[in-house]
Amino acid sequence: MTSPFSALLSALIRHRGVTGCMVVGEADGKIIDSSLQIGVKGDAFAALTASLYRKARRAAAAAGFGATGFFELDADGGRVCAAGRNDLVIVVVAEARANVGLLRVEMLKALESFA
């Protein structure tokens, strides 16, 4: 079965170093569709990244910076990227070696289809 997000997820998961990608509801942090390598804790990444993205979006708005687009967190053990619109967030889990610039372009392009 394919969802409206299947093509997007298939493209993202093929990027170097990407171990999982999901479309997540921003409000509830639940996975709408995903493509995950074995062992990636999709539910945890979805819930926590959506929460983090929501926090950043609200904080940026409160600070007068306007709406938030792309978000990236670097940690010792990898990276998490997110980009959202209309209560949907694309979440990408990746290793440090991933090309984030390329992921960012692809995620922002995909957001246009969420309008």
Binding site: L48, L73, A75, D76
Partner: protein
């Protein structure tokens, strides 16, 4: 609404005279619901005007609302009710620092550090304030070459280039330790911006505990008018903001250079 906030709200609704309003107000403040926190705290204070923790809560929310005069008044009330209260001394220290009164800032921060010697953010802030007061260093440090006068608000100016770029070092409570954020009309809104954005690093810390990714090293995000980068630094968080027209990779470089600057200047105790 988190379970904690729901549970505390129910407890307060069942007994409006309960002192649980202090926990509820703080939970609301930390979740970013500042105006709701304000209503809960000020109503609670009306009922419990002799509680130092109620005045302390109102002071911290007043800071988040940008009402520095009210914050000062409330923290002074705390010290009247509870002399030596560490939170009030810390708050008044940072407030005095923000308002440029380094002498009073040093006095309050020093007293707060005595009350809690393990608070690294206090030690860092006190170092900053003392660096801005070279003539007031203790005599026992001995004659050395003149210390450079460092205005903590301009600490990052040497690494910031273009218009609209800003860097701020925040302590773990979201208070500004160094740096500034000037708006086009010249106002320093670092305290407001810092208070809003420091919550993102708190959220990142919580997320890291569950995701198994180790410590977070850097967060970058783009908003309509600004790109923001932040990283843990000297017991708090360093935050850099630049106009959206500045490339994201350059914002990351600014963050790295600002981190080096903060560590070089303030990191002696970090």
């Amino acid at each position: 609404m988190s379970d904690d906030i729901r549970s505390l709200s129910e407890t307060l609704a069942a007994d409006p005279s309960s002192v649980v309003f202090v926990q509820l107000g703080e939970a609301l403040r930390r979740s970013g619901q500042v105006e709701l926190a304000w209503r809960v705290a000020t109503r609670g204070l009306d009922r419990h005007a002799q509680r130092a923790d109620a005045h302390d809560l109102v002071a911290r929310i007043a800071i988040d609302r940008g009402d520095f005069a009210r914050a000062r008044a409330e923290w002074e009330a705390v010290l009247t009710l509870s002399p030596g209260h560490g939170g009030a001394q810390k708050g008044l220290g940072f407030l005095s620092f923000q308002q440029g009164d380094m002498e009073e800032a040093a006095r309050y921060l020093g007293a707060a550090l005595v009350a809690d010697p393990t608070d690294e953010s206090l030690a860092t802030a006190l170092d900053t304030v003392r660096a801005a007061q070279p003539d007031r260093r203790p005599i026992e440090e001995g004659p050395t070459e003149p210390a450079p006068v460092v205005d903590a608000r301009t600490l990052f100016n040497e690494v910031l280039g273009g218009a609209g770029e800003a860097a701020m070092l925040l302590d773990s409570d979201g208070y500004v330790v160094a740096g500034q954020y000037r708006t086009e009309d010249g106002r320093d809104v670092a305290a407001d911006v810092g208070a809003q954005l420091s919550g993102v690093s708190d959220e990142a810390g919580r997320a890291m505990r569950h995701l198994g990714l180790g410590r977070w090293r850097q967060i970058v995000f783009e908003a309509d008018t600004a790109s923001v980068a932040m990283a843990p630094s000297t017991g708090g968080v360093l935050l850099v903001a630049a106009p959206r027209t500045v490339p994201l990779g350059y914002v990351r470089r600014l963050l790295e250079r600002s981190l080096e600057r903060a560590t070089r200047s303030l990191g002696r105790r970090a």
